[in-house]
């Protein structure tokens, strides 16, 4: 602010006063205030006097004193609005192309915004639906060893849940869940007792009766309070009840898993299907009542396999409860470690704490928790939200740009209305009405478009979203958005248009829409910079995706068929395998539960060099049971030692490890070394590291021990006659297992599914990028058309005077090209910054190269030039006579 005379009252409050005070009171009150201000200046410091002045002004802002802005409340509003709408409609029809661009761009933007909003809403609605959502917590281990990254995981010891409930009055109830492949949890061959045919079903989990009550899972048949109370009971989803027991109440019937008739389960109840925004997605809940997986399992504190949930009493503060929970750690867990002389006793005492995490945080805010539930990254969700806002902004900008550019056409109307007696506020109202009309048409079209595109969007985003027509908020929100966007997009044009001076307009002095050229250029730059950011981002995500899918993994995933459910072959597995290998198209086959793709089994253990178990902290490593053909079926390279052989009896105690494991254990000469976990092993071979987990992380330590059994038979087949080979395999299977249909997947497809979330992110980015560029180009096309109209005389005269076609073309496109290039320069660093952050999540990532910017840049320049050229060439080729005849 500029320095003013200290004797005069502060400028801004005074302006504000003049703005709102009724004219007839202004002189008196302004004078009074000034007098008081000068009195105060004598008494207080100038700063304080100014403050008091401001305060007085604010206190004067009250109904009796404020201007009555409704200048013309005697007029019949309705008729006026009718007229506004009529004129708007005529204009819309008169300039069809401009209207189409305005409305089309708007509708596309709104459709995109609606879809993204539905997506974001669904993502942020996870686990809000329980009756006591705010009191349900997951108990999470937090292991904060300062020498490495903090580990957080939810698996607890079997007794922890009951101990919590008994020892802490703050905990009303607690319950356990086993959410991963473990005994009967995961997937099984399933049949009702009275049927013969097995079906493969997924979505089995073990659950306590109490957890059923904590989550208040709604039941269709049976009582929630007793459904899982008895041993060997099972609760099935409505979907499964409809599939296996149509039109009947299945409670009390028996079902058989994996042909184990002696371990039949009784159906205790039918639950409603889990809603799609629940972190739990199961069709079969097996009871944990009296379940003991091995002798003494339930009473031991050795092993952590149970996700534990707690229902807190009302008013419990988790910050107060969490430190108290440590008594459980000391009393049970650490004493267990100490009894066994385990070095973990010391570590756990120093670093292990228990966190209570709200169940609603599972989906979006538990990225660092190591569990099996599919999660989203809240940053990505926020990013999508931002993209939705940006796309809407782009659409609004088109509207503003085209409205101001075409202002000359409306100037005469504006001038005439003013002459006839319209107040400026009327004109503002008129143009706002017009833009709300446009917005209403666009929102209507956009909503329709979104509805039509929803199935494709679902496919793209991997969701099952639906339109919430019936939700009470949906239509009001849509109406609100219509108004808001209408006003937002209309506010600048309406003030701009209503400011024309009638005398200038009617004399024809008004320069045709050049006044706002600076602002229009800024907006074009904004649009194309946004497009650039989105296109570069989509491009980089796509390249990273390709990099992952085609990286050398250390194993060969091509032409490997994974036959599922081979555990049910039991003793016939070797015979089945032999028969497969006799087929001409089959080169090798390996049975195991463990494969380097997601969805197969994992087993994390600690390993030590033999004899150092109580001295060293241990190396965390996977231990996989594989057969002797595993390495050849997956083409994994052996770099030292040898593979298993069933002919060598001592190989039952042999282990093949990967390089990482050898390094972590510090084995210089691994072959022949002795290591231990719960058993003791001799290292017979070392394999080259291969990626067995998502490429977001590094390669961990891995050991393989020999086992003939496996629920998956990985069969390598030759590339020729795949159809015939598969048919032959199916024939053999049907001979062996007549009651169980064959089930197989291709390993490369399963592998690609591991990166489905990356692919989805990329797809959504790409879709947004395409939309953004379409909207931006629509706007550019409109502006180019306008420019061509505006300069038609100039171009015609130049042509008459002998300008060449190419120089005219240059003249007409150079301005736009400049703007586009500026946009690229602004967009590139933003995209670079965003993408560098995104790539940091990946242990294995591409480097950002110059051509990641150059290619999208060229594409944008190309598209923009194409858009502008049409109009430029049309004008350049047109006959000068047409444009000059009117003069």
């Amino acid at each position: 602010m500029k320095q003013t005379d200290p004797q005069s009252p502060p400028e801004w409050p005074l302006r504000f006063l003049r703005f709102f005070m009724k004219d007839e009171y202004l002189e008196e009150i302004e004078g009074d205030l000034e007098e008081i201000y000068l009195d105060n200046l004598d008494r207080y410091a100038p700063e304080r006097a100014r403050q008091m002045y401001t305060l007085e002004v604010l206190k004067l802002f009250r109904p009796g004193l404020v201007k009555n802005w409704k200048v013309s409340n005697q007029l019949n509003h309705l008729d006026m609005y009718k007229n506004y709408l009529k004129v708007a409609w005529r204009n819309l029809r008169k300039f069809k192309m401009y209207s189409a661009i305005k409305i089309g761009g708007f509708a596309i933007g709104i459709a995109a915004a609606i879809l993204i909003t539905l997506f974001v809403l669904h993502e942020s609605s996870y686990d809000q639906h329980y009756a006591n959502t705010d009191r349900i917590y997951r108990v999470i281990n937090n292991f904060a060893d300062p020498t490495r990254e903090a580990d957080r995981w939810p698996a607890m010891q079997p007794q922890l849940a009951s101990v919590l409930e008994e020892e802490f009055p703050e905990i009303e109830k607690s319950g356990r869940l086993i959410p991963y492949d473990w005994y009967d949890a995961g997937s099984n061959q399933f049949r009702p007792e009275e049927r013969v045919q097995n079906n493969y079903e997924e979505g089995f989990a073990y659950m306590d009766q109490s957890l059923l009550e904590i989550l208040e899972i709604p039941m269709v048949y049976g009582e929630r309070e007793t459904a899982l109370a008895n041993p060997k009971t099972i609760v099935i989803s409505q979907k499964m009840a409809d599939k296996y027991y149509p039109d009947e109440n299945p409670v009390g019937k028996s079902v058989i898993l994996n042909e184990k008739e002696d371990r039949a389960y009784t159906i205790g109840g039918v639950m409603e299907d889990f809603p799609s925004n629940s972190h739990l997605q199961y069709d079969f809940l097996l009871t944990l009542t009296e379940e003991e997986f091995w002798e003494g399992e339930q009473t031991s504190w050795c092993c952590s396999n149970y996700n534990t949930y707690a229902l807190l009493r009302r008013g419990t503060q988790t910050e107060e409860l969490e430190p108290k929970l440590l008594s459980v750690r000391d009393k049970y867990l650490i004493s267990h470690f100490e009894e066994n002389g385990d070095v973990w006793a010391e570590k756990a005492k120093n670093y292990l704490t228990y966190d209570l995490v709200p169940v609603a945080d599972t989906h979006l805010k538990s990225k660092e928790v190591y569990d099996v539930f599919p999660k989203s990254d809240i940053r990505i969700i926020r990013l999508f939200g931002a993209i939705a806002v940006f796309i809407l902004l782009l659409a609004c900008i088109n509207f503003i740009n085209l409205s101001t550019a075409k202002s000359a056409n409306r100037a005469k109307e504006t001038g005439l209305r003013k002459v006839v007696g319209s107040h400026r506020s009327h004109l503002i109202q008129q143009f706002l009405t017009e833009s709300v009309l446009f917005s209403a048409i666009s929102v209507g079209l956009g909503t329709l478009l979104a509805r039509v595109l929803l199935p494709y969007f679902n496919e793209l985003s991997g969701k099952t979203l639906s339109f919430p027509w019936t939700d009470w908020w949906f239509l009001p929100v849509l109406a609100g958005v219509t108004l808001l966007i209408g006003l937002l997009a209309g506010v600048y044009p309406s003030f701009y248009l209503s400011a024309f001076k009638p005398i200038d307009v009617l004399k024809g002095k008004l320069s045709r829409g050049t006044k706002a050229a600076g602002i229009r250029s800024t907006m074009v730059v904004f649009q194309f910079a946004t497009s650039m950011v989105l296109i570069v981002s989509a491009f980089i995500v796509y390249n990273q995706m390709q990099f992952i899918l085609h990286k050398d993994l250390g194993f060969d995933k091509e032409q490997v068929v994974m036959l599922q459910g081979t555990n049910t072959l039991e003793d016939k597995l070797p015979a089945f395998k032999d028969e497969l290998l006799r087929l001409p198209g089959v080169t090798s086959a390996a049975a195991s539960n463990y494969f380097p793709v997601s969805g197969t089994k994992r087993d994390q253990n600690s390993f030590w060099i033999e004899g150092r178990k109580n001295l060293d902290p241990g190396v965390g490593a996977q231990i996989w049971r594989t057969d002797e053909d595993y390495l050849s079926a997956l083409d994994i390279n052996l770099i030292a030692g040898r593979n298993f052989s069933p002919d060598i009896a001592s190989d039952t105690g042999a282990i093949v490890i990967n390089q990482t494991m050898a390094d972590k254990l510090g084995l210089e000469d691994p072959v022949g070394a002795r290591i231990e976990n719960w058993g003791k092993w001799t290292v017979i071979g070392v394999v080259e590291d291969f990626h067995f987990e998502s490429m977001k992380g590094g390669i961990g330590a891995l050991g393989m021990i020999m086992s003939e059994r496996g629920s998956i038979l990985a069969t390598e087949i030759s590339a020729e006659n795949i159809e015939a080979t598969l048919a032959a395999i199916t024939g053999i299977w049907d001979n062996f297992m007549p009651n169980q249909p064959i089930r197989y997947t291709f390993m490369d497809e399963t592998f690609a599914r591991m990166y489905a979330d990356v692919q989805r992110t990329g797809n959504v980015f790409a879709a947004c990028a395409i939309l953004a560029i379409i909207i931006a180009c629509l706007g550019l096309f409109g502006l180019a058309t306008f420019m061509a109209e505006q300069r038609s005389k100039e171009v015609s005269i130049r042509k008459v005077l002998g300008a060449s076609m190419s120089s005219l073309y240059q003249l007409l496109t150079a301005d736009f090209l400049k703007l586009i290039l500026i946009s690229l320069l602004i967009g590139a660093p933003i995209a670079w910054y965003l993408m560098r952050n995104w790539l940091e999540d990946y242990e294995y990532r591409i480097d950002i190269a110059w051509w990641f910017f150059a290619v999208p840049g060229l594409i944008i320049v190309g598209i923009a030039l194409f858009t502008v050229s049409r109009q430029a060439l049309k004008l350049a080729f047109s006959s000068p006579v047409d444009h000059l005849r009117g003069e």
Binding site: E28, G31, D32, E35, K59, F61, R62, L65
Partner: protein, 108 residues
């Protein structure tokens, strides 16, 4: 009492206007009342009371002279209407009657 009501604060402002006679303009009214009530009042509260009473017919006003301290802006001098005086008298009478009752009761 009449339909047109006079609020407590309005009554005070009205009395001040009458007491100040020719000096009854915004700043003076504010100062006088502040001195008597021993509290700070905002221009807004006084002005809205004045305007309200003008609308209700308790006050009339005319532009007065200007001073250099007002930056050339004229004062507005307020004066009570006969109607206002009558209403004030009525209120006073009602109050006096009530007080008399209270005093009598006290002596019993």
């Amino acid at each position: 009492m009449k339909k047109t009501k006079l609020g407590e604060f309005e009554e005070l402002v009205l009395l001040t206007v009458i007491a100040l006679q020719e000096d009854a303009y915004g700043v003076q009214i504010k100062q006088e009342l502040e001195d008597r009530l021993q509290e700070t009042l905002s221009v807004g509260s006084i002005q809205s009371a004045l305007k309200r009473m003008e609308d209700k017919g308790f006050l009339t006003s005319t532009f007065g002279e200007t001073t250099p301290r007002r930056g050339g802006k004229r004062k507005r001098i307020y004066a009570a209407t006969p109607y206002a005086r009558r209403v004030l008298e009525e209120i006073k009478a009602v109050r006096a009657g009530l007080w008399a009752t209270i005093l009598k009761l006290d002596f019993i």
